[in-house]
């Protein structure tokens, strides 16, 4: 159950972005979670919703995009989707060590409502 720790780290990033961009309310957060990241999306959603309570991201919808595991063969250059966690290249049978995607734990975007901004040194008020 390390999703709570990951949800806390996620919320920290979201609130920092919200403050930097003068958002008074966050209503949607898009994240990428690699298929190989040891994260259960439903559990992450649940933990995030609990932690976000009483913050600017309270009630925000968390959209989780799961990215497939993709590897690049260092022998023949083939880029292929890894199935059943075998990194063996389908072209030349070399076992690839380079992982192109599949381990992401990434915030992609934060959406919300921007507060009034006078144009000069917006006061985020921490």
């Amino acid at each position: 159950m390390h999703e709570m720790a990951i949800a806390q780290a996620l919320l920290d990033v979201v609130l920092a972005e919200a403050e930097d961009h003068n958002l008074i309310m966050v209503d949607r957060v898009v994240v990428q979670v690699g298929e190989m990241a040891a994260v259960v999306p439903k559990s992450l959603e649940f933990c995030f919703s609990i932690l976000a309570n009483h913050t600017a991201a309270s009630g925000a919808k968390l959209i989780i995009e799961v990215t497939p595991v993709v590897a690049r063969c260092s022998n023949c250059g083939e880029v292929f989707e890894v199935e059943n966690f075998s990194f063996e290249c389908p072209e030349c049978s070399f076992v690839a060590t380079e992982c192109v995607s599949g381990r992401e734990l990434m915030v992609v975007s934060v959406e919300g409502v921007r507060g009034r901004c006078d144009g000069e040194g917006s006061n985020s008020g921490n």
Binding site: A5, A9, A38, F87, V95, M106, V107, V110
Partner: protein, 226 residues
Amino acid sequence: MEKVQIPVIRNILEAHERLAQENRRIFDKAKVFVINLMSSPGAGKTSLLEQTIRALSDQISVGVIEGDIQSSEDAERIQKTNVPVVQINTGGACHLDPSMIRSALDALDLSSIDLLIIENVGNLVCPAEFNLGEHRKIMILSVTEGDDKALKYPLMFRMSSVLLINKIDLLPYIDFDVEKIRKECKKLNPHQIIFEISCKTGRGISQWVKWLESELDQHYGEVNWW
């Protein structure tokens, strides 16, 4: 009121990664080689530590950080081997994180340690996701856990430089296909080195310790791949 979408592209664990890198700098400055030992509960982490500490050359000073949800039983076992040990109780958390390691370092004199072994919380999932600043991730799988674990918990197998297959003295009594798991690990992590060991009989321990000593010799020769 203006609705906006802010493109971000930031690693969720960036704060953890920063702390892990700070730890790494501390280790490198003090010339301490650090391994992060991971496995399920009961696979034999503490037994491996006891065996390893006994078998290592006297020239190498060892320090240990013990991670457990509760209790100091493991730390007490390690204390008997006369090496400095710090117990971290995570109080429920299922893995160690780099800030816990940083706090534990206050209780260790790194200048008198060559090899620091961090025994992570027993868990085949969560510890694999958190870098602690270590130089190598090492994992143990005991044969009683079954030979299907590499494909069920691929991240830890992918991230570990070494897989120690423990309790091989029990092989005659259970269905565990060593070749099957070797084959799967080869496709998952071709650089991984596998040792078959028994902490009970001592079989295979000398090969593992020899590997560890040679890694210590090289110390700063390699960068993490992934």
